[in-house]
Amino acid sequence: QQQVKQSPQSLIVQKGGISIINCAYENTAFDYFPWYQQFPGKGPALLIAIRPDVSEKKEGRFTISFNKSAKQFSLHIMDSQPGDSATYFCAAYSNDYKLSFGAGTTVTVRA
């Protein structure tokens, strides 16, 4: 049973558009929420992360929005570029040093 639910499974966006990926969780013990980016044939790499005491975090074109009461968080990719085409995973970390991952979203940016 997946502890972090991620949607959509895939999305296609035009260059310059906004990509939005949503995640939801139930376990209130989660206290750190990273997003990972994975290119084909590579391991996942940390992209951006947020703690539940912050409602938004922005790094360049990537923004995490966090709604603690709804137990939901999302990744927004602004001005999407072809180089952003990858699979994105949300995850949640609890104090037992383990990560729970969402199922992943494949983003395709069309030029």
Binding site: P34, K42, A45, L46, A49, L99
Partner: protein, 111 residues
């Protein structure tokens, strides 16, 4: 890949044979993890280690065993491989401060 190597990178084996995958790190990180990645499931934790000879089970540990005799090496063994263990296996390391760094992965096919 943050000083993490995995070997072999690709392996094809037959049902019922034993298989050992190796993860080697040069970072002296305390925590090491083995995940499997399958379409629609994201990354699922198999086993993890919090020190030499200290290991524990993850959510999909059945059919797998691990060993860690040195800080730098974490071995994953499939005692008798089955077709359901065909997957991409990732090793990750962590200092225990939430962030995990992933290796390049091993693609295992069990015929």
């Amino acid at each position: 890949d943050a000083g993490i190597t995995q070997s072999p990178r690709h392996k094809v084996t037959e049902t019922g044979t034993p298989v050992t995958l190796r993860c080697h790190q040069t970072e002296n990180h305390r925590y090491m993890y083995w995940y499997r990645q399958d379409p629609g499931h994201g990354l699922r934790l198999i086993h993890y280690s919090y020190g030499v000879k200290d290991t524990d089970k993850g959510e999909v540990s059945d059919g797998y065993s691990v060993s860690r005799s040195k800080t730098e090496d974490f071995l994953l063994t499939l005692e008798s491989a089955t077709s359901s263990q065909t997957s991409v296996y990732f090793c990750a390391i962590s200092l225990g401060d939430n962030e995990q760094f992933f290796g390049p992965g091993t693609r295992l096919t069990v015929l």
